[in-house]
């Protein structure tokens, strides 16, 4: 290959990449946090809810997990606006990512919640914990600890998937790359740079989740063993 790599445009355009990466971080942190809330509530509904709760949640999970994120983003952004609900690209992106991430999180958290034995709930009852205390301390935290590696992977995948929101003109990292390459015609270099930035972000997110895990799971921090 006799292609001359030329990264000179970086001297001028690096603030664009930083801004794009920052928006990616903002969008995905919001989506991950909200997606975790949605997923946890849906998982509780799927395990402990009656059939009138389990079925709609099951349908939501199946519908989302069997259709592409790209089409979901189009439905939220173009579809809803044609129905009269106009949302900005950023808000649409977060909504689509939350709805999408929530469905995957539901399945992961459901597996965790189902791994909590009945005897744990009975013991919590005997200790006189309220229903909320039981769910919080006896069900959710240990459930989350069990599925934490899967959650981490899912959230990193969600961060990478946020690149798809560039298709509705959200000015995040991938959209920035598209913009810079159309100005400079240096598409090979631009996408290599962005790939490296995404790799760095993946590592950063994994590290952050590891830290959060240390804070969240006291038992694990003290003993260092799997639950």
């Amino acid at each position: 290959m006799n292609y001359q790599f030329d990264f000179a445009f970086l001297a001028e355009r690096w603030p664009d990449f930083v801004a794009g990466a920052w928006l990616t971080i903002q969008l995905t942190v919001a989506s991950i946090a909200l997606g975790l809330v949605v997923g946890t509530i849906c998982a509780l509904a799927r395990v402990y809810g009656g059939p009138w709760l389990r079925r709609p949640v099951g349908a939501y999970v199946e519908l989302i997990r069997n259709t592409p994120l790209l089409v979901q983003i189009f439905i939220v952004y173009f579809g809803l606006s044609s129905l009269g609900l106009k949302l900005s690209a950023e808000v649409s992106a977060v909504i689509a990512l939350v709805v999408n991430g929530g469905a995957y999180t539901t399945e992961i958290m459901r597996a965790g919640i189902q791994s909590i034995q009945r005897t744990q709930l009975e013991a919590a009852d005997c200790l006189g914990l309220t229903r909320l205390q039981t769910i919080l301390h006896v069900v959710l935290l240990p459930a989350m600890e069990r599925v934490y590696p899967a959650l981490t992977s899912q959230f990193v995948l969600l961060m990478l998937a946020s690149s798809i929101t560039s298709q509705i003109s959200t000015e995040e990292l991938t959209a920035t790359a598209n913009l810079v390459q159309s100005d400079t015609y240096r598409s090979f270099e631009v996408y290599i740079i962005v790939a490296v930035v995404y790799l760095g972000l993946s590592a950063l997110y994994r590290f952050a989740f590891w830290l959060i895990g240390l804070v969240l799971f006291e038992r694990k921090r003290r003993l260092g063993t799997a639950l």
């Binding site: 290959m1 006799n2 292609y3 199946e62 519908l63 997990r65 069997n66 259709t67 592409p68 994120l69 790209l70 089409v71 979901q72 189009f74 439905i75 173009f78 579809g79 809803l80 606006s81 044609s82 129905l83 990193v156 990478l160 998937a161 690149s163 798809i164 560039s166 298709q167 991938t174 790359a177 598209n178 390459q181 015609y185 240096r186 598409s187 090979f188 996408y191 290599i192 962005v194 790939a195 995404y198 790799l199 993946s202 590592a203």
Partner: protein, 215 residues
């Protein structure tokens, strides 16, 4: 403005066959490369294991979209202009290989050690061990998650639309450009994807249940 009519739906269904074709290319290509990756991952040489794991980390740490842009626009500007279907097939192959490689590594490693030792004792060489002892057992474990991953492949072919390959998602955009009824069109597009993916999801779950019966 053109009214949405039956021809549009036929067009979408036609485009769905391209989605299926691209999925097939990605799955076949991804399986071949993925098997190589899986075998490298369990190889005796630390260097080969490192190469395979580096590959997996690299692909799983970057968005598929960037991979697509690199193979279409990037290689194009570097003098290797690929037509969209080749660029999409290439990126999806590389992507699928990383995930399938990791899935299959797990399956190979979960074949009990004693099987390796027994086949050692019988004097089988490395190739015979894989071909007659390990892989047949690993394949049984591998089928449910592989079918599950096929759903991901079908869904991710939608990204090929961004490099101008006219599959289902791109066809939806094209129809939308002439009729401007995005909600109806993209719900229909989503429904067609669902019709392709849901049977695979159900099959994956049924196979998984069957695989667990034996334990």
């Amino acid at each position: 403005m053109i009214q949405l009519n039956a021809n549009h739906f036929l067009y979408l269904l036609q485009a769905a066959t391209w989605t299926l074709l691209l999925s097939l290319i990605a799955f076949v290509g991804g399986s071949i490369v993925g098997l190589a990756i899986a075998l490298l991952r369990v190889s005796k040489s630390a260097v080969l294991r490192g190469v395979a794991s580096g590959y997996i980390q690299l692909i799983q740490g970057t968005p598929l979209l960037i991979l697509l842009f690199l193979s279409y626009f990037g290689l194009g500007i570097a003098g290797y202009k690929l037509v969209p279907i080749v660029a999409a097939g290439l990126s999806l192959t590389l992507y699928a290989a990383a995930f399938l490689g990791e899935i299959w590594r797990g399956c190979i490693e979960s074949v009990p050690r004693t099987q390796w030792e027994a086949s050692d004792c019988l004097g089988l060489n490395r190739f015979q061990q894989y071909a007659y002892v390990v892989l047949p057992q690993a394949v049984r474990l591998a089928i449910p998650p592989t079918v599950g991953f096929m759903v991901q492949i079908v869904k991710n072919t939608s990204l090929a639309s961004v490099i101008g390959f006219v599959e289902l998602a791109r066809a939806g955009q094209i129809v939308n450009n002439s009729t401007f009824e995005p909600f109806t069109i993209f719900v229909v597009v989503a429904a067609i994807y669902f019709a392709m993916c849901y049977p695979l999801s159900l099959a994956a779950r049924a196979l998984e249940r069957k695989a667990h019966v034996g334990r």
